[in-house]
Amino acid sequence: MALRPVVVTGLGIICAIGRDPAEFWQRLMAGTGGLTPVLDESFAVFEARHAGQVPDEWIDGGLPDSDAGLDRTARLALIAARQAIEQAGLAGADPDRFGIILGKCQATPDAAGRYQPMHRTEDVVADRLGMRGPRILVSTACAAGGNAVGLAKDKILTGEADVVLAGGVDPLLFGTYAGFAGLKALSTGPCRPYSHSDGLNLGEGAAFLLLEPLDRALARGATPLAEVAGYGLSADAYHATAPDPTGRGGASAVRRALADAGLTTDDVGYVSGHGTGTPANDAMEAKVMRVVFGERAGRVPTSSIKSFVGHTLGAAGAVEAVASVLALRHGTAPPTIGFAEDAVPGDLDFVPNVARELPIDTVVSNNYAFGGNNVSLVLTTPRAAREYDELPAAAAVITGLGPVTGLGTGIGEVAEAIVTGRQAAGRPPSLDGRTFAPRSLWRHMNHLSRMAIAASRLAWEDAGLQLPRKELDDVGLVFATGAGSAESTGGFDESIAANPNKPAVLSFSNVVLNATGGAVCQTLGLRGPTTTICNGGASASIALDCALEMIRVGKADVVLVVAADETVATTAVDAVVSPYDRRHSGTVPGSAAVAFVVESAEHCARRGGRPYARVMGTGHASGGNPTTTDPTTTGQAVGGDLVARVLARLPGARPELVVGAGTGVPDDAEEAAVVLAALPGAVLTTSAGLTGDCQAATGAMNIAMAALAIRDCIAPALTGLVEPHAGDPASYVTKPDLPDPIGQALVLTAAPGSVRGAVLLGAAS
């Protein structure tokens, strides 16, 4: 099967060695690195001082005055994003079919220094550059930038977008610096990957690649720079921060990427390595090279441009993808600089210190991350336009539910709570008395990971899955979270505030958003494709999309989607939330994890599984003004328009039940009005009245509740609803037992000011 070729037509970059692709490439060719002592005096507390910093004047000089008030992360991203669009000569793209996939590792501060939602940076870029198509924030730590490029290709293959801007961004943050210093992972001088390997340097920057279908690019007269031939994701399922020393995880990412591209190891001319310069990484990467390329390993040059720019975390994969495209264009491999002249000559070719001309038609770019997430991209010289097959539609079903909420643990307890009308808004789940992982691991886990692992295991058991080890190697995992572990982030920040040289390193390893997904993979032994989605309350439906894409392209038969978020706010016991009711407006934050198993219908039938529901369709719409929206108080940016647009993505939907995104915020009113007007035969409900607003987990809970309604004819009731914003109480679910079987149920998810999602489920048979 030859799928539609996807190409890169524009590049943008700003990092320590350049403020555009030309300058960046010139420095790579000259071997002139950009790792210098940090200027910020507050960093003087650390013994290691070198980093890859972007000069302020490069940022100021690269932006219009209208962007001056934005935070550094958004400013870096906008510079690179505009370059990519400009190089591609893109004008007049349909905003609804113009998407953005951004990789980011850190939660970055706004202009005033406060944390902002993970997806805010991409909302700002999308808003300023006119993108209302697919919008995904991927946060697989240091693999995020490469992962974003792969997901962007998927969005073109599914037909959801004509053009996608894919990349990554991260600034240099004091806390992260302290964390790496605490892990003893920083080199005291400029890092020297693959030779001295005495630690890494952090860096900052942004990089974007503009992706579009080859045929469209040629039709509009654009120049394809490279084809995104394939990508591969994998999970080590080994450790929170250390790579699997055997290199199995890294090797399987490369193999999957090559298989996706329809290429073999013999086709590869150059490997852009992760090359952080830490001993664990560099040793593992050498193993990956030997394992993947066998006897040819020494003849495949591999180099690390982190020796020039440092480790730009979420941007790194995109920065290296830009370098890889340029390497293809120029037929030259950038060197690994700082390579020790006296290094013992090994069996591998790290392109020491001097750039090398060589014929390159295929580049593999690898990234490895905390949480054991690995990504490999395969980029090739563009070929001529050619015939292609449409992405096959694969029937997928939901076969297992694992809610871990204040209502109960496991679908049995939760179903009972729903039937008896129990309410637990803001009440945290109780996991007392049960461990869901080996005690040696469980003891050291934060609450978010415990909830997510419990949810995952319960969903797995509910699905009745018993897979041999070999099949577990291909089971996918998509983790969805708005903000990750509040406990670990808070604990880490406190430790840094107390003493930057004594960071809470265990918490630090859990600050990365994908840490919990990695812990699930490690505990359940899942090594298939894995990624982490951070789009607030819309994360779970986007994660479901990723799972469906994995199944459609044949990368997995079984994918576990797990969503988890937590609040550190304490809630009055038995707080009442009444979504869609004009009298009880107000939301209660909660903590929960909800997992569900997505399986190809064929796989489920073959093993005799009993599905809850079939996934009939999904759709997302994005937009709104992120800079004026506080998600907790205002509804203006979401608007009925976004609800209407997302419903329009599923034109054939005739649901009897809508599980809406209502959480008790003013946005509920417009959602209810639009839904009831557009779907007059449906009754509306939501789970947030029972659990509180658990962000990503509420989205997943709504999907689980729709699946449960289809199979077992029960749904969460809005028992307190008296004066709805829209319609009358008869338009809502007010009793848990549904009078008639549900043929279709629609689920809505929302990240206010950013993305809305819709998932249509139908009866399985």
Binding site: P245, T246, A283, R290, T435, F436, P438, S440, R469, T523
Partner: protein, 354 residues
């Protein structure tokens, strides 16, 4: 019961009865075999370790109840060492437990299989299937600072750097084997569980890259890093705490056979504790009295001549407050000094796998 490989071992191999098994104590000179283990790579015939498979729907529940450590989520890619205790907290055996897709596989300590099997069968309230696999499977091991290199030459270099207690099913020479990173001596250690019909070929091929070492060299190297040897250390009446094997018990588990006795021993704080000692040239017998300032404070558990120390090395079980390093005691009229473990520094600790 002789090991599967017995007919391959050279003439002159000295066998010894260890529990229910007859195992090779040494193939030639123990001192040479010890040196091979500590300096290069040794291959070991662990045919005296019984393999017992537990299957059936309640296999994990049963194993979780019978083993003192937490094996509830032991996947098929992990193994772990655990004690098996009786109701009074006495050690029945020290096992290596391998997670399996259809249950769990236990490897007994040397010569203890019969006792372990009886104990498991007596406690089989769950109705699990307990199968002695020793007729069709046997265990070979590699130990030594360069054992990882032997793994590369013999099977697959990728497996050498597996993390400790990781397990993979792999193919060797067309035969499915279970390969585990383990280690009893502080050196790089691996085990291969192989069908008996393939064992001879694997043994012979291993001998091309490693030297054979017998039970004497193995047990000495184990003692030097304080790896428990139950047949010497689990003396009648001694509690887990007295033996010093607390790490092979997990009292955070809600329930396991012997848990109450272990908790009682923890809480009472009574009894003796075990400590290593060195001194003199004579090897005291087990049970020899240990004196401090002329007072009888305990007894020798087990002692040997340590090649690594070039002196006597033993374990003494003494009054708890005196079980500390750096004290001078008298054993059989000879001055000895107590030690912290490990008593030697394994070479593997300074040799990376490449």
């Amino acid at each position: 019961m002789a090991t599967v490989l017995a007919n391959l071992h050279p003439e002159g191999t000295v066998y010894g009865e260890v529990g229910d098994s007859s195992v090779p104590l040494r193939f030639s000179e123990s001192a040479d075999e010890y040196r091979v283990l500590r300096e290069r790579a040794a291959v070991l015939d662990l045919g005296g370790n019984r393999l017992i498979e537990i299957t059936g729907p309640a296999a994990v529940d049963f194993a979780q109840r019978l083993l003192a450590r937490d094996v509830e989520y032991l996947t098929s890619e992990r193994c772990m060492m655990s004690l098996v205790l009786d109701e009074s907290g006495q050690v029945v055996d020290q096992v290596l437990a391998f997670g399996r897709e259809n249950g769990i596989l236990l490897e007994s300590s040397c010569g203890a299989g019969t006792r372990l099997l009886e104990h498991l069968e007596e406690h089989n309230d769950e109705g699990v299937v307990i199968t002695d696999r020793s007729a069709d499977l046997t265990v070979l091991a590699l130990e030594g600072p360069y054992a990882w290199g032997v793994v590369g030459r013999l099977i697959d270099g990728e497996l050498a750097s597996l993390p400790f207690e990781s397990v993979v099913e792999t193919e060797w020479n067309g035969t499915e084997i279970i390969f585990a990173r383990t280690g009893f001596t502080g050196e790089y250690g691996y085990q291969m569980i192989v069908p008996v019909e393939a064992a001879a070929e694997l043994w012979c091929q291993a001998l091309e890259h490693a030297g054979a070492a017998g039970q004497e060299a193995l047990e000495l190297a184990m003692l030097e890093v304080r790896q428990p040897i139950p047949r010497h250390e689990a003396t009648a009446g001694a509690s887990v705490i007295e033996i010093g094997a607390n790490w092979l018990v997990d009292v955070t588990k809600d329930e396991f056979v012997g848990r109450d006795a272990v908790l009682a021993a923890f809480e009472s704080g009574q009894g003796r504790r075990t400590v290593g000692f060195t001194g003199g040239d004579a090897i005291p017998e087990a049970g020899a009295r240990v004196l401090a300032g002329g007072q009888d404070i305990g007894e020798v558990v087990h002692a040997v001549r340590s090649a690594g120390l070039g002196a006597t090395l033993g374990l003494a079980r003494v009054d708890a407050e005196l079980a500390a390093a750096g004290l001078e005691f008298t054993v059989d009229g000879v001055e000895v000094t107590t030690l912290t473990s490990p008593y030697i520094v394994p070479k593997s600790w300074s040799i990376p796998i490449i």
